[in-house]
Homo-oligomer: 335 residues x 2
Amino acid sequence: MKIIMDMYGGDNAPLAPLKGAALAVKEYGVEIVAVGDEAEMKKLCAENEISTEGFEFIDAPLVMPVCAEPTEAVKSYKESSLTVGLKALSDGVGDAYVGAGSTGAIVVAATLIVKRIKGIKRAALASVIPGLEKDYMLLDLGANVECRPEMLNQFGMMGSIYMENVEGVKNPKVALVNIGEESSKGTDLQKTAYSLMEKAGYNFVGNVEARDVPSGKVCDVAVADGWTGNIILKTIEGLGGAFGKLIKGMLLKNIFTKLSALALKGGLSEFKQKLDYTKRGGAPLLGIARPVIKAHGSSNPEAFKNAINQAKIFVETDVNATISAALLKLKEDEE
Amino acid sequence: MKIIMDMYGGDNAPLAPLKGAALAVKEYGVEIVAVGDEAEMKKLCAENEISTEGFEFIDAPLVMPVCAEPTEAVKSYKESSLTVGLKALSDGVGDAYVGAGSTGAIVVAATLIVKRIKGIKRAALASVIPGLEKDYMLLDLGANVECRPEMLNQFGMMGSIYMENVEGVKNPKVALVNIGEESSKGTDLQKTAYSLMEKAGYNFVGNVEARDVPSGKVCDVAVADGWTGNIILKTIEGLGGAFGKLIKGMLLKNIFTKLSALALKGGLSEFKQKLDYTKRGGAPLLGIARPVIKAHGSSNPEAFKNAINQAKIFVETDVNATISAALLKLKEDEE
C-alpha cells in the first residue's frame, strides 16, 4: 500500500510529516510517496536520522499558501506539493493521500483533480470527534456552506459507511442536526432532508439537537450542512479550550490545589487523552473518488502516523466501492 | 413600577414565580400583577406564607400547554395566563412582562398582541450568557430561524442598546457570527449583513468565529440568525453539562481525589457561580413594543426575582425609546 503525502502542509512541516511517515512505514508496513522539495527533504532526513526506507520522492518545491480564496490559489499553484500530490493520487501513483495543507485548498483541489465518486453531489469534510460518552462523526464541517437536501442525505449515507468500515461501529446511528426533535422542525432544508433520510436505508434515528451532539450518546453520525457543522465544531473547540484553561487556573491557585492537581493527575490525563485529536489522525474528505485525509494543521509526528493508518484502513475496507454501491440503492429510493 | 407576571409558566409554577415575585416586591419595591388561577394563587400564598403585599391579581385559570406549533396554540389559548398577561401589558395595566412559559408561544403571542416597535422587522430572543472571560449577549436564539440581512443589522443595534443600558457596558462591541474572520466569508446573508453592519453606527467589530464566542473576549454582542444562535446556545449547554459531569466523576474517584475536591471547593463554586443562570434572570425579547422577559423554564424563586429586576431596569433605562430613536438613524443609513 502506497500513501502519497504532502510533506509541506501544516504548522510543523516538513519535519513532523517526514517523521510521522517514517514511523508509519515501520509500524504499518506502508510505502510513502513524499511530495515536496526533494533535495531539502532528503537533506533533512539525513540530518535528523529519519529513515527513508519505503519512501519514494516527487519533487514539487512550491508550497501552497494558506489563503482566503482556495479556488484562485489552486489555479495559481498548480505546481505546489499539495496539488502535485493530488495529481499523483488521481494518476494512480498511490492508493491514498494525506496532507495537512489548507482545508479549503484540499477540498477544491481534490474535487477538481481527483474528482468526486460518480453520483456524489458534493464531497464532505468529516471528523470523528472524541465524545464524552462515545466518539461520533460530525459532517460536513465546512466544505459546503450551503447545501441541498439530497446532499445531506448522501452525507448521512457516506458517514454511516465510513463509521461502519473504518471505525467498526455496527449499524451506525445517523441523525440530522436540528433545532428540535420533531420532524417538522428547522428550515425547508432540514424538513426535506428528514423525509429523504427517513427512507434512505441507513439507520436514521431522526433529529439530534446541538445540545446532544457533544456527548456522542444520541448518534454515531451527526449530519449537518457545512455552515452548521463548522459552527458546532468551532463552538466545541472554543469551549474545550476555555474549560481547560479554567481547570488549570483552578488547580494552580495555591499549595492545596497544587497537591490536588497531583491527586487528579490520572483523571486529568484520562480526560486529556479522551480529547486527544492526535489519536485520530485527520479528517476524511468523503465523496472524493480516491481516499483523501486532511491532517490537522498542528499535527505532530504521532498524529501524522495515525492519519496514515487511517488512510490505510480507508483503502483496505474499500469505503468508496461501498459508497458507490449504496448510491445506486439511494438513487432508486429517491425515484 | 408594575410588573405583570404569568404565574403559570415554567417547571416550578406557580410556587416559584409567586415566591420570586414576593422577594422582588420586598427587595426592589416593585408592584406585581399576578396572572393565573386567582383562587388557587391566593390559597397557595396563604398556605406557604408568601406575602401578597404589592400584588394585584388577574384571574386566568387556563394554562398554555408546551407545544410544537406555537401559532396554533396562541390562537386556541386566548384565555391562558400567558396570553392574558401579554394582553394586560399591551393595555398598559403594567410596565413589563415576565413569564417562564413556552418560548415559541411567548414570541408569537408578544408579536401578535403587544406588537413590535414601529420599524422593527422581527423580535429577537436574546440572552446574556456567562462567558469565561466576560459575559456577552447572543441573539437571536431561535425566534427567527430564517433571517434577512436587515434583521441581523437591527439585532446588532438592539443588542448594543440593551447591553449599554441594562448591563452598563460602555460602547458595546458588536460582532457577526461567521465561519471566518474575513468580510467575504459566509453565505449571502452574512456578506450582506456585514456590509450593512459596517455602516450602521454602532460599534461593529467585524466577524466572530464560533470558537471565540464562548469566552466573551471578542465581543459584547454576538449577532446570528435564529438557527445559528440556537445551535451555538445548545452546543454550549450540552458541552457545559458534559464537562460538569466529567469533573464530578474525576473528583469522586477515590479518597485522594475526594480530598482534592475539598481543596478545590472554592474554585469549583466560583466556577459554578460563573455559569449560574439564576443571577441573570431571563432572556429579553428585543423589538417588542413593551419590555418582555422570558424566564428560564427551570427558574427557582431567586431566578424569578432577578428576572423581575431585569424587567425593572429594562423599563427604567427606557431601552425601547432608545431603540426607536436609533432605528430612525439606522433607516437613514440604509437609504
